[in-house]
């Protein structure tokens, strides 16, 4: 079995991103920066109805407008749209304004449906208008039973019940969805903002009925995806169709408005939880009834996974007697997609809230209750480490006992992520040139996490070179194939692959050069002996160098103004493991990002829909609120380096426990729980009983 070197120079150390300079200077060309020769703007016309039958779409006026080069209807009329913002048609034109004018000139005959539903509690009702004709919005729940729940509850020393809810969260990557597509006789090239070049290629070939050999996808730089950017998307296919008609490349990037409607979200959850324990805190019984919405769709309709609204329960814990019922409620809203640790942040929020409520009832320290019940030895270590670093024993007080108007509180929560291991199909190659320069080519993409840097660090370590001596190329389907950037699998996919490429390169170089060791200072002399032709070495993922199942625990400290309801997170200690650390700097960056995203989920983010009109009311960053730098606390990242486990991904677990830890800290500060995310000033004041009752 291959092994990682015991002594390292770069692996596990902080290495600045190899593409930091182009990124901060603006030289990096993101997918949305691509300006292909003679390119046109593309734009999408969306449904202004939450539910309607589209009878006909006429482009007669639009086609005649100056600058308009191509038009497309999303599918043959008549067809049904099921949510506000669903795609109807698209245009390509020489300017953005020409596109806008053209969209406003498209004439649609439609039969709007009088009834529709955008709220989960309405959608659950038997008489609610059906989102899919002939199919109930809320099918019978899936149930799972273990042991004898009722008998176990009867014997518990403490039982709590709670109703914990989480909103629909939107991915909102900084770079919106979209691509530039060029369709010529040679085939289709898509410069896509994607986290899966292979899946985009696959999707385009399938939708456009082209040979896969005729489709190339390129992603040099992309601005985030979080699970919502695996597929070609309706927008990608429309861009291709427009390009074919216009005989020119079409850049179709969605707007921020579009992002709020049609390209994925995290399902909501409404978790009714009952949890019971013996007097020593041992969990004995668990019951959950959960529903949430994935919008109109699930599974296949969600472009690459996600779907459904189920969450893992009772999450981290083993409870001998449990009864879990879950269902997804269809509503007239955009479909869910995989979203950074699908299911886990809501699961963590619900279960970890219940754990803290139970700790209060038992009169137990919340950390003690977790140590008593958490089956993971790694998290056990992390709780001990984090509690020490955070000063938990000094800071934890009885709930609500903090004096004054601004009350402080502390909370903690744990994370699990079952994936994070490598994709066994990952391949890669290196071209070693006689002048000693070396280029790695892998058909993965850098979603922004530092994929290129990881490749450079691993290669430099094994070849005895410096990371800056390694040229890294990713994001092209002409390179040996790699996985999509999902499930936190990228790092554990590419590191063993690069290891294999390097091992084979060293062997071949030894043979060809006759030198016993070609690494380090011998590298250039050895390369010289290659003669005129470069050496290209192919490698693939190897077992034994990676594993999966990262853990993590986080501690949060908050200050809550009990008169204004404002929650200030003052500190987060994030303790995480991901096996062998490759680049400490990009790893810490991932965890910082995970904490900040979790904070947004805890305090600010929520898709708001209007009952009467069916529209999304906050399709912008003015009212879809995201954490700003003034909101972000001191984040203390504590890393557990576990080389013996090999490489494990970290992207997802880093964001899982943050919202639960913050929510628990708020409950600890106030002495009452805000049992609904986001924890807004309005909800804090309501939980404190300060809001007057209103007749509705």
């Amino acid at each position: 079995m291959p092994e990682w070197p015991a002594q390292t120079k770069y692996i596990g150390q902080p290495t600045t991103r190899v593409d930091a300079a182009p990124k901060v200077t603006g030289r990096a060309r993101y997918s949305s920066d691509i300006q292909a020769n003679g390119w046109l703007y593309g734009m999408i016309l969306r449904s202004k109805w939450p539910a309607a039958k589209i009878l006909s779409v006429s482009f007669d006026k639009a086609r005649g407008l100056p600058g308009v080069k191509a038009v497309a209807v999303v599918r043959e009329t008549p067809f049904t749209v099921r949510y506000y913002g669903e795609e109807i048609a698209a245009v390509a034109a020489t300017t953005k304004q020409a596109c806008l004018d053209a969209l406003r000139s498209i004439e649609i005959k439609a039969e709007p449906r009088e009834r529709f539903v955008v709220r989960e509690d309405e959608g659950r009702k038997a008489d609610s208008p059906q989102v899919w004709e002939g199919v109930a919005n809320a099918p019978a729940p899936r149930a799972r039973n273990t042991g004898d729940v009722d008998a176990a509850f009867a014997e518990c020393a403490a039982v709590i019940e709670g109703f914990y809810t989480t909103p629909v969260q939107i991915h909102h990557p900084m770079e919106t969805h979209g691509s530039t597509v060029s369709w010529t006789e040679e085939g289709v090239t898509s410069w896509a903002s994607t986290q899966g070049i292979s899946s985009v290629g696959d999707g385009l070939a399938g939708s456009l009925k082209l040979d896969q050999s005729k489709v190339r996808v390129i992603t040099d730089y992309m601005g985030g995806g979080f699970g919502a950017k695996f597929g070609a998307g309706v927008e990608g296919v429309l861009a291709a169709r427009l390009s074919r008609e216009a005989k020119a490349p079409v850049r179709l990037m969605l707007t921020r408005f579009d992002e709020a409607l049609a390209v994925g979200n995290r399902p909501s959850s409404f978790q009714r939880i009952k949890l019971g324990a013996a007097a020593d805190g041992t969990l004995r019984a668990f019951e959950m009834d959960n529903y949430g919405t994935a919008g109109i769709g699930a599974g296949a309709a969600s472009e690459g996974g996600g779907g459904g609204a189920d969450i893992p329960a009772p999450y981290l814990y083993k409870v001998p007697n449990s009864r879990v019922k879950q269902k997804a409620v269809a509503i007239n809203a955009g479909s869910a997609r995989a979203f950074r640790a699908p299911g886990n942040p809501p699961a963590s929020y619900g279960m970890e809230s219940a754990m803290d409520d139970l700790a209060v009832k038992l009169g137990m320290d919340p950390v003690e209750l977790r140590l008593k019940n958490d089956p993971s030895p790694i998290r056990q270590r992390e709780y001990a480490l984090g509690a020490e670093r955070f000063g938990w024993k000094q800071k934890y007080r009885k709930p609500g006992s903090s004096p004054g108007v601004v009350k402080t509180g502390v909370g903690c929560a744990g994370a699990a992520w079952p994936a994070g291991g490598g994709s066994h199909q990952t391949q890669g190659e290196a071209q070693i040139n006689p002048d000693g320069s070396i280029e790695f080519r892998l058909g993965v993409q850098d979603i922004g996490t530092g994929t290129k840097t990881v490749i450079a660090v691993v290669a430099a370590e094994l070849l005895g070179l410096r990371p800056e001596q390694i040229t890294v190329k990713v994001g092209d389907t002409h390179f040996p194939p790699g996985p999509g950037s999902g499930g936190s699998t990228t790092c554990a996919s590419i590191s063993p692959t690069v290891y294999d490429v390097c091992t084979k390169a060293l062997q071949q170089m030894q043979t060809q050069s006759g030198l016993a060791d070609v690494r380090g200072e011998n590298w250039y002399p050895a390369c010289k002996k290659l003669g005129v032709n470069p050496l290209v070495v192919h490698g693939q993922w190897q077992p034994g160098l990676s594993s999966d199942h990262a853990c993590g625990v986080q501690f949060a400290e908050v200050a809550v103004d009990t008169e204004t309801g404002l929650v200030t997170v003052t500190k987060v200690v994030a303790v995480h493991d991901c096996g062998l650390i490759i680049d400490k700097l990009t790893l810490e960056s991932q965890i910082n990002g995970g904490v900040i995203m979790g904070m947004g989920y805890a305090l600010y983010e929520e898709r708001v829909m209007d009952d009467l009109s069916g529209v999304v009311l906050n399709p912008n960053f003015e009212t879809y609120k995201l954490p700003g730098i003034a909101d972000v606390p001191e984040i203390d990242v504590v890393l557990l380096n576990m080389p013996e486990r090999g490489v494990i991904g970290i992207g997802e677990p880093a964001t899982v426990p943050t919202a639960a830890a913050i929510a628990n800290a708020v409950a600890n500060a106030l002495g009452v729980r805000v049992s609904s995310l986001p924890i807004t000033p309005a909800k804090v004041l309501a939980a404190l009983g300060k809001v007057p009752a209103v007749a509705t």
């Binding site: 009467l612 009109s613 700003g628 000033p681 309005a682």
Partner: protein
């Protein structure tokens, strides 16, 4: 956006003439451009007023200060003399938008900005403010909406400067039909109180020239509460101003933003505070008076205790150590 003509004015008179009945004045453009891009406003001509002479100055007189309509919010924020004379104005300016927005946002634009109601701003809802039949917010998502209104629209005034100007008893001087008209803050928004389609009392072609603030209230303060710590709209804002003589309040005034279509002022509360020595109980009694007539809706009732807290805090801040 729809096509428009563009002209640069060299005097207030020519600006007024150019804008005619269907144009719009362009200064910082923060609000106007987004309204145009979202097809919420249509203008036949944009008249650039950025270089109008005399409107970009802060002037200090014996009885009053004058702040030109083209003075930027950032200039107010960093003017040390303003900060000393009107701390509340400085504090309000510092809370507006982001630094980039403050750098170009003008006093006139801040006062004249349109409703931020998410139904009004939405491209596909036709609400009362857009001459539709119905205030969606009244029976819908009204967490950001008014506790007070004189009509069926519940979208509140969100100008932070209007809130603090009201407490400072400032007057807007408006060029209307070639004459200068003086409007108190209450008058500047009275029409929005009465008419659901109005954002303020300005007529087409009206141009805010400057704001006059009477000297004399040596103390002022502004506080706002938001969902976030920066770059966020106020859920409620509160400004208070007074002079303090021998520990007693003189000419006290309290005004609130984001809870009414106009800066919310209650004369009875101001009268109650006159001559009082401020303490927690007095501040709370004033807050009770100010919020007595509040009509909370399903999702905005939290604004009542929030406003109460802000009134108390702002008043105690005005009192300071005196």
């Amino acid at each position: 956006m729809n096509a428009f003509q563009y002209a640069t004015a060299s005097s207030s008179e020519s600006a007024h003439e150019l804008v005619a009945s269907n144009g719009a004045y362009l200064a910082g453009g923060n609000d106007l451009l987004s309204l145009l891009k979202d097809y919420l406003v249509s203008a036949s001509i944009l008249v650039n007023i950025k270089s109008l002479p005399g409107l970009n100055k802060i002037m200090h007189g014996e009885k009053a200060w004058t702040i030109g309509a083209l003075v930027t919010v950032a200039e107010i924020e960093r003017d040390a003399d303003v900060g000393r004379a009107f701390p509340g104005l400085h504090e309000a300016a510092a809370e507006i938008g982001s630094q980039q927005i403050r750098n170009v946002a003008t006093v006139g634009g801040n006062l004249a900005q349109h409703s931020r109601c998410w139904y009004f701003r939405h491209r596909d809802t036709v609400c009362l403010k857009k001459h539709g039949d119905l205030c969606y917010a009244r029976h819908g998502e009204n967490r950001y909406h008014s506790l007070f209104t004189g009509n069926d629209c519940i979208s509140p005034v969100v100008s932070s400067l209007a809130t603090v100007f009201a407490a400072l008893d400032a007057t807007a001087i408006v060029l209307r039909d070639a004459k200068e008209t003086r409007l108190t803050m209450s008058e500047l928004y009275q029409k929005a109180w009465e008419d659901p389609t109005a954002h303020n009392s300005l007529y087409p072609g009206d141009l805010i020239l400057r704001v006059e603030i009477p000297a004399g209230r040596r103390r002022s303060a502004y506080l706002q509460a938001s969902d976030k710590h920066a770059f966020d709209w106020a859920l409620v804002s509160c400004a208070a101003a007074a002079d303090v003589v021998d520990g007693k309040l003189k000419w006290p005034r309290v005004a609130l933003g984001s809870i009414s279509p106009k800066p919310h002022e209650v004369a009875a509360a101001n009268e109650f505070l006159e001559g009082k020595t401020l303490d927690e109980a007095t501040a709370a009694a004033a807050a009770d008076l100010i919020l007595k007539e509040a009509k909370p809706l399903e999702y905005n009732a939290y604004k009542v205790p929030l406003a109460h807290a802000l009134i108390r805090r702002t008043l105690l801040k005005v009192k300071g150590d005196a």
